[in-house]
Symmetry: C2
DNA sequence: CTTTTTTTGGTGTCATCGCTCCATAAATCC
DNA sequence: GGATTTATGGAGCGATGACACCAAAAAAAG
């Protein structure tokens, strides 16, 4: 048998960090969320994180790497409404209706920047940021693929007609969510976004097949 | 009678400019369109315009002023499809269907950057660019107001029910167009965008009142 | 011609960008 | 205690950002 790992959390070796990495990451995420990558300076970052440049580079590889991590953290933590709503019960149409409503709510929280961190990020940027841009394109495509999979599932369950264009519908809903993200950034209130979502969801209602 | 103005275009006084201001503005517009304001550097600009810093500041007040002019030029020249489609004959539903299809085409031209210069611009940016951001918010709100006016007109013409929610529908179509702008920036082809537009337009079809 | 007017090319400026270096501080290990 | 290890504070780096300055060039006006 291999020796058991220490269960009591032994303190690590050297000088203890003066800040919590996860907290700092959250603070950076919020700033990136609000200002985007190019709109957020290094000094802005270490300012809001409350650390020095040395501490920053001791915990993060670069501004770009931090942004990547921030996007991942956002997708995992703040983007839960997306997958959760799509996995909810009640059929495809209801799931998408729920998801769009959840988007409206998530995009207009008072304790976070408005809109979606991913939806409108790096659509226009310098060629120097092409890696980041591609990463965000992949994120958006990923979300679209999840939606498409849910629609395909709806067809399989007989909730949508056999000839339903799942790819087209997924692209449509993806566009609507991204558009809601723009509206939110422009100051649209929750009700306005919910109305947009409701109208968008009605497209599925029309082609949903009643049992 | 006041003395007539010279009709023959007398050459102006000093050294003739070595470049055409409108052409340079177009070149700058295209670069801004592709990279956004923060993603476009001063050197990038004078590079694509083919002029020196001196010539630049002799014709334009600042990078910010140039961007403002570029947005105006875009709205006036490249954004004609928008107003033209909405003014077309055949009723509201047809007008919006035409407009969304025109958007799909305009967003995927081969001789211009993909997407819309206004739709996705300055949604995330540094506080230093708040003037530009507000200007773009106004542009987007202006487009939404034009759509709403067309919908109100549709109600007046009896093409839509009296209780149609024109503001809500305008917000919805605005979101769809902006979302199509994101999709286009992410590389979506013309057909995909046209499909999105078609699905979006079907919302009006449903609430359109047949005479 | 000279004067006046406007544009141009080239160089310089000053702030900010993201990032690095190093001596020191604060902890554990022996 | 000393050695080792890790984190911190602070100064500073080269590159790039937008922009300013000025003498020279190229035209019309007198």
């Amino acid at each position: 048998m291999t020796p058991k790992k220490e269960c009591a959390p032994r303190r690590p070796r050297g000088r203890p960090p003066s800040f919590d990495r996860e907290t700092a990451l959250s603070q950076a995420m919020t700033l990136f969320w609000d200002r985007g990558y190019e709109g957020t300076s290094f000094d802005d970052l270490i300012g809001v994180m409350g650390i020095s440049a040395s501490s920053f580079y001791n915990s993060f590889a670069s501004k770009e790497a931090l942004y990547m991590e921030a996007i991942e953290a956002y997708a995992r933590r703040e983007g839960a409404w997306f997958t959760q709503a799509l996995e909810s019960d009640g059929g495809v149409a209801a799931a998408f209706r729920t998801m769009l409503d959840a988007a409206a709510i998530a995009f207009t929280r008072r304790d976070a920047p408005s809109g979606c961190m991913i939806a409108v990020a790096a659509t226009q940027c310098s060629p120097a940021q092409s890696r980041l841009r591609q990463m965000l394109i992949d994120q958006r495509h990923g979300a679209e693929a999840i939606m498409q999979a849910r629609l395909v599932d709806g067809v399989r369950m007989g909730e949508l007609p056999e000839d339903a264009d799942c790819a087209g519908l997924a692209a449509y809903f993806s566009a609507v969510i991204n558009g809601m993200g723009v509206q939110a950034r422009d100051g649209a209130c929750r009700e306005k976004l919910q109305h947009i979502g409701s109208l968008a969801a009605s497209v599925l209602q029309g082609s949903a097949r009643s049992k």
